[in-house]
Symmetry: C2
Subunit: 252 residues, 2 copies
């Protein structure tokens, strides 16, 4: 085991290193298996002796396998309880691709910051049958360890993109599909009054500051969730969940 | 400043001490103000010199005020960034009261474990206009610092109870109101097919193990949220949010 490998895997916790190598780290057999099944390129499979024995069928695969100790496993992952098996996997090749179609339901994240919220929203979008999630350039990097952990494999089920939201909004509108904002203003619509359609986008804003003024200006309509007068607000991931399951009713 | 005070405030992070003193700790001016406005008994107001100066109107109040340093503030609260003002407040007197009415929408927590999930569900129930939340005896204590932080003052807007869920379920059913479980089984109903009513209860189960068999056996119906086949599941707080806003449509 070259020490340099361990250092490099550990560095995948940083955006800089992920950009440099065009890879990210998956922690745990379940995610590693999804990546293999999805045909993602596995740059390195890293596991303890015990985990390799449990999954001995993977040893025949055509990717490099590294046996490491529990201590090394703990240093390369940022989890409290690493699962003893991880993989360095190539990042999706299309993650910065500009929009080419506005088919299906899409979630746009406008400068959302908290990794747990972002990961949970992606996981919820997946469950709600969304086609993809697009993060604005000022949203946290979608392949950070915390987001990867929270999205629980949803990157293998829907499109994850990062780019200028205005490009995406313009395409949806040009193709005749609604783009819903979530900024409370006097013209905002009760979300229950929106007729669900097949193709649309929903934008969730920053936890503290809401949506960017430029993005907001481009929406078709703004939605609000009616609330008890005493409640201050809903957590952004909870709001997103309520709206996504209301707006996308394809899955019956 | 008696050192014993500081030790006792710090101990309020434990369930044992809260039970002994029948009090809990609120961190931050916003929550302290809500407690004062709600008429809760303030056993001690604890603040730094700076915070006391900012809120000098409270000095005239009829409760003991203790000026402490930032360091003491940091030891008694378990937050990364304490807000410099806290209060030891009496716990709600009715929190173990047995059910006496089944009016309104109620959320029952059946052995839910994660404090963040519990606090978020209480906050969401508040926003959705629920009358109260009941935690089963095996659910985490509702006044732990993490839950108090996550529920963001909702304890001042709705009833929080802890007790035997079977007592509550029996009352709702006796009074003719539905009690919805959330355990997937062959008889489960698509949540969109339920007609919203004024008075009902919704039960959310444990993150890993779902609902208790005894509780499950007593439900009127079990609901499911239709999901994309590839998604594994929803976070329990997200599911609760979707269901609560669908079932309780009083707030328009």
């Amino acid at each position: 085991m070259h020490n340099q490998h361990v250092k490099d895997w550990k560095k995948l916790q940083t955006k800089k290193q992920r950009k440099k190598t065009n890879t990210y780290l998956l922690d745990g057999w379940h995610l590693v298996e999804e990546a293999i099944n999805a045909g993602n390129q596995i740059v390195a499979l890293i596991a303890t002796e015990e985990q390799l024995a449990l999954h001995d069928d993977i040893v025949t695969r055509e990717f490099p396998i590294y046996e490491v100790t529990n201590e090394i496993m703990a240093t390369i992952t940022d989890t409290v309880s690493p699962q003893g098996i991880a993989a360095e996997v190539e990042l999706p090749g299309d993650r910065f691709t500009k929009p080419e179609t506005s088919h299906g339901a899409w979630l746009f994240l406008d400068r959302v910051q908290d990794p747990g919220n972002i990961g949970t929203m992606i996981r919820t979008a997946d469950a709600a049958g969304f086609a993809g999630v697009v993060a604005s350039q000022k949203t946290a990097d979608l392949f950070s360890p915390k987001i990867v952990r929270a999205m629980q494999g949803s990157q293998f089920h829907l499109h994850l993109r990062q780019g200028d939201l205005v490009d995406w909004i313009t395409l949806f509108k040009t193709e005749g599909h609604p783009v819903y904002g979530t900024q409370l203003n006097p013209q905002a619509l009760n979300f229950r009054e929106v007729t669900p359609v097949e193709d649309f986008a929903l934008i969730m804003g920053n936890e503290g500051h809401g949506m960017d003024a430029t993005t907001l200006n481009e929406t078709t309509a703004n939605l609000y969730i009616p609330m008890n007068g005493q409640a201050e607000s809903l957590n952004v991931a909870i709001s997103a969940g309520i709206l996504m399951f209301q707006l996308n009713q394809k899955i019956k």
